[in-house]
């Protein structure tokens, strides 16, 4: 239905086109000419006429045409307007005269036509729109149709819903021309109005299409008023505060109309507006201003069911320039980059070694053991090369041998003898073991014997002595070695007195180098085999009860009773694989016999054979005191090598062959023996005994 159509807007209704002609009842042809060039129209009209004119008219036209063209052709139509030309049989001689006549005739027509249409009913008006600004009154506008050449009067009639009474528009003036204003009294809300406009002139009237209007749905308020824009500051950032008032006529206070507002903003130089919906409030803050400058603001409003008002007049405000643009973005970016940089730096720091290696590969330096770069830098070549020299290299054979020595095989034959010996073991015997702390005994014998403790103790005491410290060690070593030799098969014996292996079993096999046989033999026997320094030393160790003897030496104490080992009753002959030197024969401890009241096992050197092998034999127990001529040794002479040649005093026994002597090792044992041996000046040989005290004063 058309109720809303009017409200929707001016609907363009086509004006009824005036009919180009009308054939009246008379013979006259009323040809209405349009304002175009008359001659053209004449031609076109004439062509139309052919279709619709009756024969009578056609004949008429033809006659006229014949008059016009001056030709007697029938059916030729020409446009003739208002041809009241009486048909005369006479033809115009001159075409030009006819034309002139026509023109003369046409001219007033044209002018008459241009002036308006005389006496035609008016055209149909069209209702364009109806609007109510405040839902209390409303106005309707129409567009009139054609005039018809006469004064046309337009009137609006309306009919209310559910009522057949037709009323005319109360007010044609207030709203302007071609309008009808309905005031409050005539306006009823929620009522359908059926409105029609009628155009009337003397010739007729024209009715427009009816339109149904309900005022509630045609509300379009006026724009808001008093729009004020002010620049305010919030924490340094400017913003716009826009406030307005509802249009004066709209009654929002009583709740009759509820308006919602909308505003738009733009910079002066911009083209696009930024719209904001403000709802029902009458104030709005525009916060995000991109930059400073002149801002333009406009507001409009709308009822809940209605049309938007027009935009209000533009309000302007000047916003000061500020560097607001993208500040937060810059800050964010800065923070982000700083963070990333820190992370990268940290990673680099963690991997700096890898990087360093990658970028600056290390120059390979000399990798020689003992090569000191610092020395190189200092520039002293001697030091450098001396540093290169490994003190252990080339390793001395003794030490090597020492190192290479395998564990001794301890052959222990448990016999009664031994048991007795074990029982009768004194701490003295332990001294033979000479398990000094300085030497490492890895044979494990220490665990078996408790004597080692005492031995250690002794060793410590001796170690304190500076004078014969080295001697002591050597002696101890030799003691050990001797033990080693006696008990086991010694593979290799270094020349030097090995440090370490201690055989601490004073058993049957401990030799007792007491006897010294003939000087020559002794002498030769003294010559230690190269490989058997051990034996010598051990022999030495055996000698004079080993440590006790040396103890006295080091401490300068009264000579302790030497302890010679009594040879076992059995008379076992201790024999070692290696050569057992009989060097100790010379130093047959005379003392021990006299000094050792307790039982101890002694082994005496039987002899030293040609192979520099000391043959031992156990001394028969029982008489510890003084086996006549056996116990005491007598210094025979001092050799050129500072070797004290001892010989057994007293009888010469058959059973006791001269013990051969061996040379001790030239090295340390020389010292040792020197210690043992009494020098020329020294050795007050009383009774041929060796004074232990003096011995120790020898150079070591």
């Amino acid at each position: 239905m058309a109720t809303q159509d009017v409200g929707a807007g001016p609907r363009p209704s086509p004006a009824p086109a005036p009919a180009p002609f009308r054939i009246t009842g008379t013979r006259e042809l009323m040809l209405r000419l349009p304002r175009a060039s008359p001659l053209v129209r004449l031609v076109s009209l004439s062509s139309r006429l052919t279709g619709c004119a009756s024969r009578r008219e056609r004949a008429l036209l033809g006659a006229a045409a014949g008059v016009h063209h001056g030709r007697g052709t029938e059916g030729r139509e020409t446009g003739k307007t208002l041809l009241w030309l009486p048909l005369s049989g006479a033809k115009m001689r001159n075409v030009f005269e006819v034309m002139l006549l026509l023109l003369l005739l046409l001219l007033p027509l044209v002018t008459a036509h241009a002036g308006g249409q005389p006496n035609s009913p008016p055209g149909k008006p069209v209702l364009t729109s109806c609007r109510s600004p405040e839902k209390e009154t409303f106005t309707c506008w129409w567009k009139p149709g054609s005039d018809g050449g006469l004064s046309t009067k337009h009137s609006l009639f309306y009919r209310k819903e559910s009522s057949d009474a037709v009323h005319e528009c109360p007010d044609y003036r207030t709203a302007g021309e071609n309008s009808c204003f309905f005031n409050k009294n005539n306006t009823a809300i929620w009522v359908n109005y059926n409105i029609t406009v009628v155009a009337t002139n003397s010739l007729g009237s024209a009715y427009s299409d009816p339109v149904e209007v309900d005022v509630v749905y045609i509300v379009q308020p006026n724009p808001p008023e008093n729009v004020t824009v002010s620049v305010m500051e919030d924490k340094g950032w400017p913003f716009l505060r826009v406030s307005w008032e509802p249009p004066r006529k709209a009654d929002t206070r009583s709740g009759w109309i509820t308006l919602v507002y909308e505003l738009r903003v733009k910079l002066k130089e911009e083209d696009d507006w930024e719209t904001h919906l403000a709802g029902q409030q009458k104030m709005f803050n525009i916060l995000s201003l991109p930059s400073g400058g002149e801002y333009q603001v406009e507001v409009r409003c709308r009822p809940d069911h209605g049309f938007w008002s027009e935009w209000s007049s533009t309000s302007k405000a000047n916003v000061p320039h500020h560097f607001r643009r993208d500040n937060s973005t810059w800050i964010l970016m800065t923070v982000f980059f700083a963070f990333t940089f820190l992370i990268v730096a940290w990673l680099l720091h963690l991997n700096r070694h890898n990087l360093k290696r990658c970028i600056l590969p290390p120059v390979p330096g000399p990798k020689i053991k003992g090569f000191d770069k610092k020395l190189l830098k200092s520039g002293k070549s001697n030091e450098i090369f001396s540093a290169l020299v490994v003190p252990d290299y080339p390793s001395t054979p003794s030490s090597n041998y020492e190192d290479l020595l395998v564990d001794y095989l301890e052959v222990y034959v448990p016999t009664e003898r031994e048991l007795q010996l074990e029982e009768s073991k004194d701490p003295h015997d332990d001294r033979l073991k000479s398990d000094s702390s300085t030497s490492d005994s890895d044979s494990g014998r220490g665990s078996c014997d408790s004597h080692t403790l005492l031995v250690d103790k002794e060793a410590k005491e001796e170690a304190r002595q500076a004078e014969c410290g080295q001697t002591r060690t050597e002696v101890q070593r030799s003691l050990k070695d001797w033990d080693a030799l006696t008990y086991a098969q010694i593979d290799m014996v270094g020349r030097d007195v090995p440090s370490g292996r201690v055989k601490t079993w004073p058993s049957l096999y401990s030799p007792l180098p007491r006897h010294s046989s003939g000087p020559l033999d002794q002498q030769s026997s003294l010559q230690m085999a190269k490989q058997h320094s051990l034996s010598t030393s051990s022999f030495l160790a055996q000698e004079a009860s080993g440590e006790s003897y040396w103890d006295v030496c080091s401490h300068g104490e009264l000579p302790r009773p030497l302890r010679a080992k009594t040879p076992p009753h059995r008379g076992l002959r201790a024999r070692s694989d290696a050569d057992v030197s009989g060097a100790g024969l010379k130093r047959a401890p005379a003392g021990p016999r006299s000094l050792a009241p307790h039982t101890s096992e002694y082994v005496e050197v039987q002899r030293v054979n040609n192979k520099d092998v000391v043959l031992l034999q156990p001394v028969v127990t029982g008489c510890y005191q003084a086996l006549p001529g056996e116990v005491y040794s007598k210094v025979k002479r001092v050799d050129s090598d500072n070797i004290l040649l001892l010989q057994r005093e007293a009888r010469e026994e058959d059973g006791y062959p001269g013990a051969e002597q061996e040379n001790t090792t030239q090295k340390a044992s020389a010292c040792v023996y020197a210690a043992v041996l009494v020098q020329d000046q020294m050795a007050p040989m009383v009774n041929g005994y060796v004074d232990t005290a003096t011995m120790c004063t020898l150079t070591c």
Partner: protein
């Protein structure tokens, strides 16, 4: 097994309880009323009630408008209808103010009565309208749902307005004549079978208008009673 069944039963019960409470909360009339009879508390709750009711009516009107537009698209009234006498809504018997002045001149009680009458008058027709829509195959489900929603909303709106009237009576804003007048006239209007021959389209048209009336009257009432609250 026992535990499982017990748990499921308890879950179902909890869910049901929750649903029950939720549904009751969403109803219009379930506004919290202050326990202690203090003046400020009452006024505030009345304003709150009014707002809710007005919102509800606005929504109702919106739905009716949509439905009416849809009808116009699908069932374009023929040109014959243009000239005919406009439809007769069954609520035309209820006297409603047709202008601002009339509405403002009307007493609060009368206005409230009018609102209630209108709402009562539309309860049944809308329900039947929904029924008829459901049976029509021409309408899609969306329209049918809207009709149902409309019907429900009117129902709730009626309850809400009743609550508001009650509140106003308690507060002494209006006299106690409102409630008694509602039932008989309204029932008459709804009992009458005037609305039956009405076509769906006309029905929608009438209801659209009436919902607008209700909304407007409520606003007027609110701004008259509580002017400081958003008027």
């Amino acid at each position: 097994m026992m535990h499982g069944t017990i748990r499921s039963v308890s879950c179902v019960w909890v869910v049901w309880v929750c649903l029950f409470f939720c549904s009751s909360v969403t109803m219009v009339g379930a506004a919290p009323i202050c326990a202690n009879a203090q003046g400020g508390c009452h006024v505030l709750s009345l304003a709150n009630l009014f707002d809710r009711v007005i919102q509800h009516s606005a929504r109702t009107h919106g739905i009716s408008n949509n439905l009416h537009t849809e009808f116009e698209q699908y069932f374009m009234p023929s040109k014959n209808h243009i000239g005919r006498v406009s439809r007769n809504c069954h609520t035309s018997s209820i006297l409603t103010p047709n202008g601002k002045d009339n509405a403002q001149r009307m007493a609060r009680e009368e206005l409230t009565e009018v609102i209630l009458k209108l709402l009562v008058a539309w309860r049944d027709p809308l329900w039947h309208f929904h029924q008829s829509m459901a049976h029509h195959h021409d309408f899609n489900n969306f329209s049918s749902n809207k009709a149902l929603e409309m019907s429900n909303m009117v129902h709730e709106l009626h309850k809400g307005v009743e609550k508001v009237a009650e509140k106003m009576q308690v507060l002494g804003i209006i006299s106690n004549t409102v409630s008694s007048l509602v039932s008989p006239e309204a029932l008459l209007a709804s009992d009458s079978s005037e609305w039956r021959p009405m076509r769906d389209y006309d029905l929608l048209y009438c209801f659209r208008r009436d919902s607008n009336k209700v909304q407007n009257y409520l606003k007027i009432l609110k701004c008259r009673i509580i002017p400081e609250h958003g008027c």
